[in-house]
């Protein structure tokens, strides 16, 4: 049998191009990693020194010359406000996503809702703060500045993130599962509750956490809704201390000890988001094992 074709070797030009492209992509990846590494490095170097048991257990004193105190009230305040914001935004956001994927598929109304959710994602966070300032603060509904008003501003910020990511998670649920549940005679609400939502749960959780992490670090919506307080409080009707606000004010201080508190608070913020993430993942994994 005679060979009527040849398998030509890869040309040296193609080999060179391949090498070059490989190098370019690697360089870009490294370039993207540099800021991330630097952020973590500086946070640890400057912030870790501020960490001590009393740093987490005492409230800031507000004194410039004396002992500046710790960040306890800021941690508690951030957790309280973000928790309230999540309680508002996560159910509504998932509800919007359920409407978009399960009921409004293909309708013009769902289409325009999706469009405006996208627009909302792009709204700068300070605008949400302004909006709440005008609607809730200047109108003196339930006092002046209050933690719950900041939570509303953060919830507005979280809503489109939750809705959009939840929609993606729900769309990933295979249609065959919906059909299987319906074919068993399940009413639609039961199919959603027992099959679609549990199947999408990991995605819903990830999306919600993304929004929580985002809200946790936002300063602008809190500036003129919650403002600031030194002591810790569980009263959501009053001003409260928060981590990002503390970073914002303390970093401007001319005193080195107070600047270090800002770094320490920043590091705490990152650690808090990380811990929340790990916690949620652990819960998710455990519920899947059972």
């Amino acid at each position: 049998m005679s060979v009527t074709f040849t398998l030509s070797p890869v040309s040296s030009r193609r080999r060179r191009t391949d090498r070059a492209m490989w190098g370019v992509l690697l360089a870009l990846t490294v370039l993207a990693l540099i800021p991330l590494v630097l952020i973590v490095y500086y946070l640890l170097r400057k912030g870790l020194g501020a960490w001590s048991p009393s740093f987490f257990t005492t409230d800031p004193t507000g004194s410039f010359f004396g002992d500046p105190g710790g960040i306890r009230s800021a941690i508690l305040g951030s957790l309280e406000i973000v928790a309230l914001a999540s309680i508002i935004a996560v159910p509504i956001g998932i509800g919007v996503a359920l409407y978009l994927t399960e009921y409004g598929r293909g309708s013009w109304f769902a289409g325009s809702v999706r469009y405006f959710v996208d627009v909302m994602t792009g709204v700068p966070s300070i605008v949400f703060g302004l909006f709440v300032y005008i609607v809730l603060v200047t109108s003196h509904i339930g006092g002046n500045f209050a933690a719950w008003k900041g939570a509303v501003a953060l919830a507005l910020l979280m809503l489109p993130i939750v809705a959009r990511s939840a929609e993606v998670a729900l769309l990933l649920v295979p249609n065959g599962l919906r059909e299987a549940a319906l074919a068993l005679g399940a009413p639609r609400w039961r199919m959603l509750l027992r099959v679609v939502l549990p199947t999408a749960a990991p995605g819903l959780l990830t999306g919600s956490l993304l929004a929580v992490a985002r809200a946790m670090g936002e300063t602008a919506p809190l500036l003129f809704t919650v403002t600031f307080a030194l002591g810790a409080t569980a009263n959501l009707g009053q001003p409260m201390n928060t981590l990002p606000y503390m970073v914002f004010t303390d970093i401007q201080s001319p005193r080195a000890a107070i600047v270090q508190i800002a770094w320490g608070a920043g590091l705490t913020l990152v650690a808090l988001v990380l811990i929340l993430n790990l916690l949620a993942r652990a819960i998710e994994r455990r519920s899947h094992m059972a």
Binding site: R105, A180, A181, L182, L184, G185, A186, T199
Partner: protein, 286 residues
């Protein structure tokens, strides 16, 4: 019966070819009517996807306690037709159906009928095994039962019975609490059959239940169908003509949304009346 308004040329051409009711299907004297199972009667069924007319004025009878196979080339409307029987067709956006589907004389499309009640009476097994991924083996089978409020010991017993009925009991009895999706493809499909029969429906619809399975798993499902036909009326859509020949009592051949011929399976494969059926079963077409 809802008359079809738009008589198309093709439909005219085929009209009258093949009797409406094949007398070969009439029971031979001496063969007793089975006491179990329920019959389904289709009269003037038309199904649409938007403007597309997928099933065109179909009359068909599925007899109690028998396996009826539906064969036909891709896109002939056999899956659409079977999905009309438990009203799953209307779940597709833009889809609708007209005509009558009677379960023991009760019209499933009557306006006062609750669609969930229809689906509890008429179970369905899909082409791709689709156990619920967040549920254990046990919970998968229990899913339908829990809808009707079955609980405790009664629930356990029914789930075990369903698993035994599909021959899965010995394979899964030690892993009832493990995820249902951890089973093999063939086991998953039998799990889905168990899920469907656990609620004790009257009819089981199977839409190409073996097309995603290997030959060994296919054989097991076919054996299962043979066992189940004593208790349930089974309608099975299949692309595999050998399968239709192996498992069914009667076979219906569909083409372009219409019924060409419905006769005892042996007759369809050895002595079809319609030349289009013959061309299809001998592999000259489709």
């Amino acid at each position: 019966m809802t008359p079809t308004t738009n008589k198309e040329p093709m439909e005219m051409a085929t009209a009258g070819s093949g009797p409406e009711r094949d007398e070969r299907l009439d029971r031979k004297p001496g063969v007793a009517e089975r006491g179990t199972g329920h019959s389904i009667t289709i009269r003037g069924l038309s199904a649409y996807y938007g403007d597309q007319h997928a099933v065109r004025g179909l009359d068909l009878d599925f007899r109690a306690g028998e396996v009826t196979a539906i064969i036909g080339p891709s896109g002939c409307g056999k899956s659409t037709m079977i999905r009309c029987l438990n009203r799953m067709h209307e779940e597709v956006p833009g889809a609708r159906a007209e005509g009558r589907v009677l379960l023991d004389g009760l019209d499933l499309y009557a306006p006062e009928v609750d669609v969930t009640a229809v689906r509890r009476r008429i179970g369905m097994v899909f082409q791709k095994p689709n156990p619920f991924p967040t549920m254990s083996v046990f919970d998968n089978v229990a899913a339908g039962l829990r809808l009707t409020g079955t609980k405790g010991e009664d629930l356990r017993e029914r789930v075990h019975r369903a698993l035994r009925a599909v021959g899965l009991w010995n394979e899964v009895k030690h892993r009832l609490n493990r995820p249902g999706v951890g089973l093999s493809g063939g086991q998953q499909q039998r799990l889905c059959i168990a899920r469907a029969i656990a609620v004790e429906p009257s009819v089981i619809l199977m839409d190409e239940p073996c097309s995603a399975l290997d030959p060994v798993a296919t054989l097991k499902v076919e054996e299962l169908i043979d066992e189940l036909k004593d208790r349930y009326t089974i309608v099975i859509v299949t692309h595999n003509m050998q399968q239709a020949a192996r498992v069914s009592n009667s076979t219906a051949y569909m083409l372009d949304g219409q019924l060409v011929e419905h006769a005892p399976t042996a007759e369809i494969f050895t002595n079809p009346r319609d030349h289009r059926t013959e061309r299809y079963v001998t592999g000259k077409f489709g």
